[in-house]
Point group: C2
DNA sequence: ATGAAAGCGCTAACAG
DNA sequence: CTGTTAGCGCTTTCAT
């Protein structure tokens, strides 16, 4: 491959350590020899071998981003946020897709760990997160993004929004807009964030004196597609809602589709509110009102946090107390809800 | 970190080379000592240090996937295809997002090259691809996926569909369905594949005795969003088309949106045909008919090709002749076109 | 200010 | 069949 330190040293008539010194700018080198070495490096297109540096230093300047499914629209902007701040700080990022599989996640972590990845950012598949905890115990910087369980709080660093409050506010807004029978398109209960969204919904109902009706809770079993059937079912029953609150945008889109098939007009006959604000939500017809998550920032903050962890570890050989970064959500009003009723 | 070869050797009372031998299964080792070593490796949770192996062997078991924009929906399934076959063959993949920027692409390649990435799969930003050619010249396995220029053919390995034929067939189908005034939503001309799609359209027109009308070609200037204005413009003119053929699905979706805003009914009043078959295209209303690209396979074939290149290089120290893998496209009929007219 | 030398963890001759 | 040894390319004392 390219020239090595040794080659440069020979060409410049100095020792490898001198070349290393001018490369790292960590120790003083006579200005003349410095320039000479620099000139030769230039001429030979010298690039230090990153692998050798990693072996020697025990660090790799790479971060590993683990996501459960790259086709899930929320992870593209998260990845972008991570990449941006990583690259700005001189880190590369390796992206691993676990396919929502706990084993793949574990294998991924093990494999990357032995490549001396400096830090992990993980949106975890469901499971006990044992390998993630073991990372943290072994003082390897890590942060959970978007997905976490209640038990992880204060035990692992986390970046997320406040799902409870977001759903609470959204539901309250729906009620203030005059909606009374609010159906919920509920995601897999195994995910803590879905549970939190449901909890926010229930609390808002309760605070506004509306009785919680279990029949209005539509539970996903396999995938978002379930809501086609579920929507048609409830719309054909006596229990018709006047609005659907979907716990994610894809669910909202399936619901809108089903509603169209039944010839309901949105928002004239019935409203739909999503959650996430994936890019898709503004291109569909009618444009979806939704609760926005700052995905890019989630990724950016996560990356910054691990990088800070890495720095702290290098300086004091310890990791910080795990902190939970809670980013701001936002209610985005477009055209799938009626304007406020009076 | 974990135990090293040396530690295991000490624990087992043998030399490091013996341990290395049982690890690599490349040479015979006395069965008893082999088992003993294996047992100790197990007990100590020994994991060979991949960085040291890379340094020693000059290979990293890592592929680098370079994409111009992770938010572009076509790259998620490509990435998935790449990851699947890479992992199946014992490779990791590092994903780099160039933000459609030629410089970022070059930097990315330089940086990865010095980490001894074993092969590159690149969906290139626009530009001269100098750094990609230099990879190939230096015998580093590389393949272009989805994006390439005419001049790259036979000079670099490529995986793609036949854009000319796909557009030719789609246009012919439109004509056979009774459409006559076919507007084209044309992507940035700098991309060869868009030019090819336009060429296919023109040839089909010509072969069916329909005159090419330049006024029907809507040219994107900045982004897909341009087509909102462009659509409204042409629909308010004397030159109204009876169908739109978009050179990518996002363009089709913007067009459908504009059409809805003008109260046109799809497909009753006017048809829309997309290109790509991104996941999104089947969730919108009405579901979009489109030309499907096998993105997952594009990625999978690309990965397999570089891996084969790597093997050949290891065995014979040379790269193969560059081959152009052309994968099958498919016309997907959904609900945005009228059924065949007679 | 600079060089010599050890060593990061592993592999691969070369001896025995 | 197994141990010794010399690096891979780089950083970092320790001398000078």
């Amino acid at each position: 491959m390219g020239a090595s330190l040794k080659d440069i040293a020979a060409l410049a008539g100095v020792s490898v350590s001198t070349v290393s010194r001018v490369l790292n700018e960590k120790a003083y080198v006579n200005e003349e020899t410095r320039e000479k070495v620099l000139r030769i490096m230039e001429r030979e297109h010298f690039q230090p071998n990153a692998i050798a540096q990693s072996l020697k230093n025990g660090i790799s300047n790479t971060l590993c981003l683990i996501i459960p499914n790259i086709q899930n629209l929320i992870f593209a902007p998260i990845a972008r946020g991570v990449e941006d701040v990583a690259r700005k700080n001189g880190y590369n990022v390796i992206l691993c897709d676990t396919y929502e599989n706990e084993n793949t996640e574990r294998e991924c972590i093990e494999m990357m760990r032995m490549r001396w990845v400096d830090g992990f950012i993980v949106a975890s598949a469901v499971g006990d997160k044992k390998s993630i905890y073991s990372l943290w115990e072994d003082k390897i910087p890590v942060i959970l993004v978007n997905r976490f369980d209640e038990k992880d709080i204060n035990r692992l660093p986390i970046v997320s929004i406040d799902n409870y409050t977001a759903a609470y506010e959204a539901t309250s807004f729906l009620i203030q807009s005059g909606y009374r029978r609010i159906a919920v398109a509920m995601g897999a209960k195994i995910h803590y964030f879905y549970q939190e969204r449901l909890r926010g919904y229930r609390q808002a109902l309760s605070d506004h004196g509306i009785k919680y009706d279990e029949k209005l809770i539509l539970q996903e079993e396999h995938s978002s597609k379930d809501f086609n059937r579920l929507t048609k079912q409830i719309m054909s029953s006596e229990e018709k809602p006047d609005v659907f609150f979907a716990t994610s945008d894809p669910k909202a889109i399936v619901i809108m589709h089903a509603l169209h098939e039944m010839n309901y007009h949105i928002p004239g006959d019935i409203g739909v509110l999503g959650f996430d604000n994936v890019e898709l939500s503004s291109v569909i017809e009618p444009e979806l009102s939704t609760v926005s998550q700052p995905f890019y920032d989630l990724g950016a903050v996560a990356a910054q946090d691990v990088i800070d962890q890495i720095r702290l570890k290098n300086e004091k050989n310890r990791l910080p107390e795990p902190i939970h970064h809670i980013l701001k959500h936002e209610l985005i009003l477009r055209h799938s809800l009626k304007a406020e009723k009076d």
